[in-house]
């Protein structure tokens, strides 16, 4: 007859104690600490827990001990450290790097009919066709894009106002589709446009080619029209009317909108969000303004203090959660990115919030004149006269030239937050990213200085806030978070979940 052994036979021997695996921690301001392991799994615990843990004084029989062991913060002789498992999770977190550059932005023209204060692009008036991408440049750009090893490519058209160079879009799409088929790649095409010059012919073309539209909507008319002046001061009316037209022809899911936050916007987070709900959108990206292009020149008009943006963001996020609770599904895109990193085994390849930095690695920009830039922001910087992040030119450089050239290589040392001062020991490292172009622009070098960095401040504060939300253990908030993460409705999540909360 077999016999049974007590639990002590299976626990670690007390003499040998435990060893630490990599983790980082931070004290939140509400009496709790957050400890985060190498793959983004976290433990929220009372202040002092990290100290106890590190001083090897955590009692072996405590619940926290089991939790830290299960989450691979510590290891003891009761079991193997399962490092292969940790490695698999690490690989999963960084899966977004697979295939290298996936997003390819084509700046088909700098011409524009709008004259937005915050324009990041230094637009040219609508008649200056010398600011259009030439056919030869287009061909070379498509050729370079196809050199990417990624299987799934996104071709995104930006301007200027892209519809003013619609013949270029047609030309590039047909070229890219042919070549994608030859190299067995999947191609998704997005046109970023203010929609003002949208014709029925264009719509039919976009429908037939299965092209997505990304437009700008800054909020209700009084904000949108103030932010986005054009002759006739009717940008809002045109945008709304054309979103409807586009949805009818392309389908609702094919039209997305992005907003830019200005000094004016800061006072109206709820009005802006309500406008997105009124227009039937199910996501909104509460984006801070970028310190590039005209946005810098007109800082008087659009510039604002970081704290004001944070207040705007947090007020907006609370409002959005309330709207979801009341039955309308709308996700806040920035929170969604962060929550995915915090609450799931997966990473996200958002180019401005990843490590390594997405510059070049996840995105390349092909300017109208053939210049290749590491990010969209890099070419805006170039329009201001700073060509640091010009990686080459499609007419004179090969794929190899670009990715072995000094401009790209100079970016790399600063591209991993794992090795940046102020980031290497930050609890939020796995959730955050590095943005060399932002650092260079705002602080004068690609490494940046965390204590004075708006990028750092913004992410620290928002991530802390999200941890506070999570620590409330409100099942409905968690359901909303997972509905966002999984691109589904709160109703769908709740139908799968136990019916009382």
């Amino acid at each position: 007859m077999r016999t049974f052994h007590p639990v002590a036979s299976y626990s670690a021997s007390s003499e040998l104690g435990y060893r630490l695996l990599p983790f980082r921690f931070l004290r939140l301001d509400d009496g709790t600490e957050v400890l985060v392991n190498e793959v983004g799994e976290f433990v929220l615990a009372p202040n002092g827990t990290a100290r106890t843990l590190i001083q090897k004084q955590l009692p072996r029989t405590s619940d926290l001990y089991a939790t830290f062991k299960a989450k691979q913060f510590i290891t003891d002789d009761s079991s193997s450290p399962l490092l292969d498992l940790l490695a698999t999770k690490c690989r999963t977190k960084h899966n977004f790097l697979e295939g290298f550059t996936k997003l390819h932005i084509f700046v088909v023209t700098l011409r524009c009919d709008h004259s937005c204060h915050y324009c990041q692009v230094s637009r040219q008036t609508a008649d200056k066709i010398s600011y259009d991408m030439s056919l030869g440049t287009a061909e070379k750009s498509v050729e370079l894009m196809m050199k990417s090893s990624a299987h799934n490519l996104t071709l995104e058209f930006q301007g200027g106002e892209t519809l003013l160079a619609f013949d270029r879009i047609r030309y590039i799409v047909s070229l890219a589709k042919k070549q994608a088929e030859l190299s067995r790649k999947q191609l998704e095409v997005v046109v970023c446009t203010n929609l003002a010059n949208l014709t029925d012919d264009m719509l039919l073309y976009l429908r037939d080619e299965d092209i997505l539209i990304s437009t700008s909507l800054d909020g209700p008319a009084f904000i949108h029209n103030a932010n986005r002046p054009r002759p006739g001061n009717n940008s809002y009316e045109l945008t709304i009317r054309n979103i409807e037209r586009a949805r009818k022809v392309l389908g609702t899911g094919k039209v997305a909108a992005l907003m830019t936050t200005t000094q004016l916007s800061l006072q109206y987070p709820t009005e802006i969000i309500d406008e997105y709900v009124r227009q039937g959108f199910h996501s909104i990206f509460l984006r801070p303004i970028s310190p590039y292009g005209f946005a810098v020149k007109t800082r008087e008009k659009t510039g604002y203090q970081f704290n004001a943006f944070l207040k705007f963001y947090l007020t907006g996020l609370a409002h959005i959660l309330g709207i979801n609770k009341n039955g309308y599904d709308i996700a806040e895109s920035y929170a969604k990115i962060l929550l995915t990193k915090m609450l799931t085994p997966y990473g996200t390849g958002h180019v401005n919030l990843q490590s390594p930095d997405g510059a070049g690695i996840n995105v390349l920009v092909y300017n109208y004149d053939g210049d290749v830039y590491a990010t969209d922001e890099s070419r805006m910087l170039a329009e201001m006269g700073d060509h640091t992040f010009r990686l080459g030119n499609v007419l004179t450089h090969t794929h190899k030239d670009i990715f072995t050239g000094d401009a790209f290589l100079n970016l790399l040392p600063a591209s991993c937050n794992q090795s940046l001062a102020g980031c290497s020991d930050c609890a939020f490292q796995t959730y955050c990213g590095s943005d060399s172009v932002f650092n260079h622009t705002t602080q004068g070098d690609v490494y940046g200085h965390r204590p004075t960095s708006d990028f750092c401040k913004r992410n620290m504060e928002i991530i802390k806030h999200l941890f506070k939300l999570i620590s409330k253990k409100d099942p409905e908030i968690m359901r909303i978070c997972f509905a966002w993460i999984q691109n589904t409705s709160l109703k769908d999540i709740s139908n799968g979940a136990p019916s009382c909360g």
Binding site: R2, F4, H5, P6, V7, S9, Y10, S11, A12, E41, D63, A66, T67, K69, A70, S78, S79, S80, L82, D84, L85, T88, K89, T92, T344, P345, P475, M478, R479, F482, Q486, T488, I493, G496, A497, P498, S499, C500
Partner: protein, 403 residues
Amino acid sequence: MRLTTAGLAGGFSKGVVGVVSRVPLPIEARTDRILVAETVPNNPEELLGYKGFLTNAKLERQIEALPNVSSVRDLDHLRTDDIIAMEPVNGFIRTVYRPDSEHNVIFATERCNSNCLMCSQPPQDRDDTGALTERNLEIIRLIDRAPSCLVISGGEPTLLGGRLLAIITALRDKFPDTYVHMLTNGRIFAWSDFTSQLAAIRHPNFMLGIPLYSDDSTTHDYVVQAKDAFDQTMMGLHQLARYGLRIEIRVVLHAITVQRLPQLAEYIYRNLTFVEHVALMGLENIGYAPRNMDKLWIDPHDYQDLLESAVEILTTRRMNVSIYNHQLCVLRESLWKFARKSISDWKNIYLDECQTCGVQEQCGGFFQWATKLHSRYVRPVDSSKISGQRTPGAPASRPSFGR
């Protein structure tokens, strides 16, 4: 439901597996058949060509040429086309396959490399793997109509090594459309050569049910009474996933496993995101369980908070979850939609209290051994409670095997 009986064995020294016929058959149809009769035929020719013979009558004289069991206590449960195994010496007659049941099990071995505190089928330390494999391959040969599903269980089936691969290959070849669910502790799959051999069979309809009792290795090892079992199972699960094999996680709920059930749910999501299904299962009061009940017992009523929290964690993360072996009257109403009628037909009962219950139709009931021990909250439920609920016991995305 009776699945075994016994009598006086004669005419054979090695186990015989055959298909029951309760009516005499023409000589050419007798080859694989075991004739079951109330009386012994007078004419010896009437027994010619059968694989075996069973009767509750007493034999006047021994039949030497034919494996037989006589003076059998009870034969009424044996039906034509059932597959039975006749054992020499002790005269046991086991029903090993019933064509009209959804709960047939290929019983691989009684051996096991774990020794779970609550094992419903305590392991035996003798090598039965050769004899049982032979029997199981014969059963597979004898099954006439493809069953919709089959369970491979034990003991620990993987201890069969290559013999297990032979059984799964035979099932693949004969019944490719039959869903095969194998219950295993998964430890052996930590060794990738065995895992790759299993994967190489490419059975088109195969899933493994593997228990994980805690996110804490010490607790898991304690429950299964085997040092390093947690590590091996975790590595095994990842090897299986690497080879694209389909996996279900099974958690038996008792006083030791429920304490960290929400943490286990989160652990499964973070570390075993690839599993297709998580089954949270009520304790079965048989085998080792009664001996260890002082450590294991918690009234299911008292762990509803933990169970609900674990289900919430899994479902919000879009993982499939089912609750097995729980009665609706004990289960919190919010969890009814996850309850499945999971208990195998031959050991499934309802108690006297259930006679007036309005939701008995939808309820999975009890294991037959629950008469001795069950929740103190068992009571009839008003049928109006069921309205507005997704019907409990509605087919899961896969057949549910409570074992």
